[in-house]
């Protein structure tokens, strides 16, 4: 009998120990007020909105490898998944504006803000650096009768084009809708779980066309299973010199999957400059450049604070106008 009592005692000891640990997990973070001069005075936190191993996560990790050395400081990634980047934004909002918290931003965040009701506003951010740029390319199956973008537009007028993309409200979806509106044609949007699924369904001829990043369909393009019709960019891609842009065709729809880093407005300008320098130097290093090449991206993906800041504001403005005109935001 005594043995059992002993065990029960130990059991309750274990339980209370576990409870203490749990309560510690929930404890708040220690906030320190830092002066710009001694930046960085603690490790830099990069907040992402996506799961481990995805494009955003991998890009951020590759960026940090050399950034740590350049800033002589540690840096780590905090994933905050939820509500199209809104969770990440509200987390960043709770942090001091001292440059130690950096948000990895994508069109997902910008579209989420443009829909309204997000934790932060576009004016709350200052762009620090652009990390990748990946224009959306319109792909069709190589066996399909659509040889040019005009063929596709014409076909869409008879019967809506089955156009694949990622989830509803994403840059894929909006770009498809804007393309249809500007080109005066019709699409039936088919959402898929990711780029790989879109590509397989296009090769399998389940859908007529899709907006993909070049890399997502590159192998199938080279093996002759897919065909590119147009690029949603202002200028032709160096990798696809013969593929027209929509702009050339008089269709005003330029969209890209861009990624970059931002900090909250109010962060001292010297701090932003230090961060920018650290990031840019890291991205010039072969470690990051090899990654870009491997992902099928151009070295011109990288841009500094001024250019990136202007770009996110431009994308936001366009996203907002597009969502309002489509009736998806007020």
């Amino acid at each position: 009998m005594r043995g059992i009592i002993m065990i029960k005692k130990i059991q309750s000891l274990f339980l209370s120990f576990a409870l203490i640990i749990t309560s510690f997990i929930g404890l708040g973070q220690v906030t320190t007020i830092a002066i710009a001069d001694d930046f960085p005075s603690k490790p830099i936190e990069v907040v992402t909105h996506a799961g481990l191993g995805g494009g955003t996560d991998t890009t951020a990790r590759m960026l940090l490898i050399r950034t740590r050395k350049n800033l002589k400081n540690n840096a780590y990634i905090t994933p905050k998944k939820g509500d199209g980047g809104n969770k990440a934004m509200s987390y960043v909002k709770s942090k001091p504006r001292d440059g130690h918290t950096v948000l990895a931003i994508t069109p997902t965040h910008l579209f989420r803000m443009a829909r309204g009701g997000a934790a932060l506003n576009i004016d709350d951010f200052v762009g620090v650096a652009r990390t990748t740029v990946d224009p959306i390319v319109i792909f069709v199956n190589a066996k399909s009768p659509y040889k040019t973008i005009e063929d596709l537009i014409k076909a869409g007028n008879k019967k809506p084009i089955k156009y694949g993309g990622t989830n509803v409200g994403s840059v894929d979806h909006i770009s498809g809708l804007i393309f249809a509106r500007e080109a005066k044609t019709k699409i039936a949007f088919v959402p898929f779980e990711g780029g790989g699924a879109i590509m397989t369904n296009l090769v399998g001829a389940q859908i007529d066309a899709a907006g993909l990043n070049l890399d997502e369909g590159k192998d199938q393009l080279e093996s002759g299973e897919l065909r590119v019709l147009a690029v949603m960019a202002d200028e032709r891609l160096s990798a696809l010199p013969d593929t027209p842009t929509l702009k050339e065709k008089g269709i005003n729809a330029s969209f890209a999957t861009v990624r970059g880093v931002v900090v909250l407005k109010g962060t001292p300008p010297e701090t932003i400059a230090k961060l920018e320098k650290g990031f840019l130097k890291a991205m010039a290093h072969p470690v990051y450049q090899n990654y870009l090449t491997g992902a099928g991206l151009d070295a011109s993906s990288v841009a500094g604070s001024a250019a990136w800041d202007a770009e996110i504001k431009k994308i936001y403005k366009e996203a907002r106008a597009a969502l309002v005109s489509l009736g998806l935001a007020k």
Binding site: I25, L52, R61, G82, T200, Q206, D219
Partner: protein
């Protein structure tokens, strides 16, 4: 034979040690609930730039193999599947451990995992470019039919009452509807909780339903006298037992390799369907869910053969066959490599390194698993009062660690309480898990099919693969009543 001569690729000391280390790390990470091999590879990616590309990719592939096997250890010993693909292993593995057969369950898991893993690797190296094309044949209608086929076994997935199994399945399907709907963008049952927009995370639910509810079950028993410790628990399965499971292992390997190739599905669905089919064809149907050794062999062979299967489209087409292979593809990018048809033509050395790396990983975890079984199975000898409180800590850390979110911890606790009461009223967690695993697939693929078919559901008749699955579903549901009808007629 080019293939055999290429074994030298992994025979240098660094590569060998890397694969050995990655496999063991994989097994341990796979065993810890909430830590997955995909996550480990993602975290280690940036460090692999200092390795040779071939070594780095082989190490990642080995970690993937080890991680898939590792999940079974905790599933069997403490009813906390270390990773989602091991969920089905807990159905019979944990009851076996409770019956004092932990060693048998672990030994069977190791052997069937290795058989499944190796056969799927051989399929990979010989048939990958041809088989990868299956991925293109599977559109939303085919996935829908496959999911329906899987769901058709809901009523009989556990030996509990069929009605309760169906209700459990519906609960699972309901949980799968939480979040933003794929084709309409409408959020359902999210109650403005940001974390729920992308759906309820599967791992916390899994940990809650299995391990947490088990803690409550154990706690409610604590008044009873301590059970006599069974030293037979560390015994490994006998040769006859292995032989008896041979058919099940082969069937599951086929299922696992095939489902692994499909980009949208991987080890978890393979293991579920492998378990279902094992039960369907088994002579000891009633024993399933109570500690049937075939019920351990089937999901383990299936989920490990799905690793080889998942590598097929990943390497041959550059399309990830599972969440972990998606991260491995990220590894290709970091090293400036490309998967796809080019790999087979231009980089055969890389391909062979991956093949041998995974093969070696399978042998390593076989040895580790069999030797370890004797040691790990002693966990089932630890007095409950010590074991379960520590499992509780695992549950908390495991559900928090995944995305560092307290919401996941609450989901785990709620699932634990719900699971406890459901189990008390005679429900099995198996159909609930099945409903969650297949719920999103069945709904999304139907919604996509409807758009593709221009709202005309009769178009399903134009899809031979989908129709095959529908016919199989029909037969599995109505085979018995029809057979009974005929036998009755004869009697008259």
């Amino acid at each position: 034979m080019e293939l055999i001569s290429k074994i030298t690729l992994i025979l240098d000391l660094t590569t060998f040690l890397l694969i050995l280390g990655s496999t063991i790390v994989g097994v341990l990470i796979g065993a810890l609930p909430g830590l997955s091999s995909g996550m480990a590879i993602a975290l280690l990616l940036p460090f692999t730039i200092y390795l040779e590309p071939n070594q780095a990719i082989a190490a990642m592939a080995a970690l993937y193999c080890g991680g898939t096997f590792g999940g079974s250890i905790t599933a069997i010993l403490i009813n906390a599947p270390g990773a989602p693909p091991a969920a089905a292993t807990a159905f019979d593995g944990f009851p076996m451990a409770q019956n004092g057969q932990a060693g048998k369950a672990l030994g069977m898991a190791a052997v069937s995992s290795v058989i499944g893993g190796i056969i799927s690797l051989i399929v990979l190296i010989i048939f990958a470019p041809t088989l990868a094309k299956i991925a293109y044949k599977f559109g939303p209608p085919e996935y829908f039919a496959l999911a329906i086929f899987g769901l058709s076994m809901l009523a009989s997935i556990s030996s509990k009452s069929p009605v309760k199994n169906l209700i459990g399945g519906l609960i699972g399907l309901f949980v799968a509807t939480i979040g933003v709907h794929l084709t309409t963008g409408i959020s359902r049952f999210t109650f403005s909780i940001d974390e729920l927009f992308e759906g309820v995370s599967f791992v916390p639910v899994l940990i809650g339903l299995f391990a947490m509810s088990e803690i409550f079950v154990q706690a409610s028993k604590s008044e009873l006298l301590l059970e006599r410790i069974k030293f037979s628990a560390i015994k490994l399965p006998s040769i006859t037992e292995f032989k008896n499971c041979g058919k099940t292992i082969l069937r599951s390997t086929g299922i696992g390799t095939f489902i692994g190739i499909l980009p949208a599905e991987g080890g978890t669905v393979s293991a579920m369907i492998g378990y279902n089919e094992a039960r369907r064809w088994s002579k000891n149907k009633e024993n399933f869910g109570k500690g049937e050794i075939e019920g351990v062999a089937a999901p383990e062979a299936a989920n490990n053969s799905a690793t080889g299967g998942a590598m097929i489209p990943t390497l041959a087409l550059g399309i990830p066959g599972s969440a972990t292979t998606a991260v491995i593809l990220g590894g290709f990018q970091i090293h400036g490599l490309r998967a796809g048809p080019y790999l087979f033509e231009q980089q055969p050395d890389l391909l062979y390194t991956i093949f041998y790396g995974m093969l070696l990983a399978n042998f390593i975890f076989l040895i580790f698993g069999l030797l370890g079984a004797k040691i790990f199975s002693r966990i089932s000898l630890i007095p409950r009062g010590f074991l379960w409180p520590s499992v509780f800590v695992f549950c908390l850390v495991g559900s928090y660690g995944l995305s560092q979110s307290m919401v996941d911890v609450y989901i785990m606790l709620i699932s634990g309480v719900v699971g406890f009461f459901l189990r008390r009223s005679g429900f099995s967690p198996a159909p609930i898990i099945m409903g969650i695993v297949l719920g999103q697939l069945v709904e999304n693929s139907l919604a996509q099919s409807i758009i593709i078919f221009d709202q005309n559901l009769f178009m399903f008749f134009t899809r031979p693969i989908a129709m095959t699955f529908f016919i199989l579903t029909f037969l599995s549901l109505f085979y018995k009543p029809i057979k009974n009808l005929f036998t009755e007629r004869k009697r008259i």
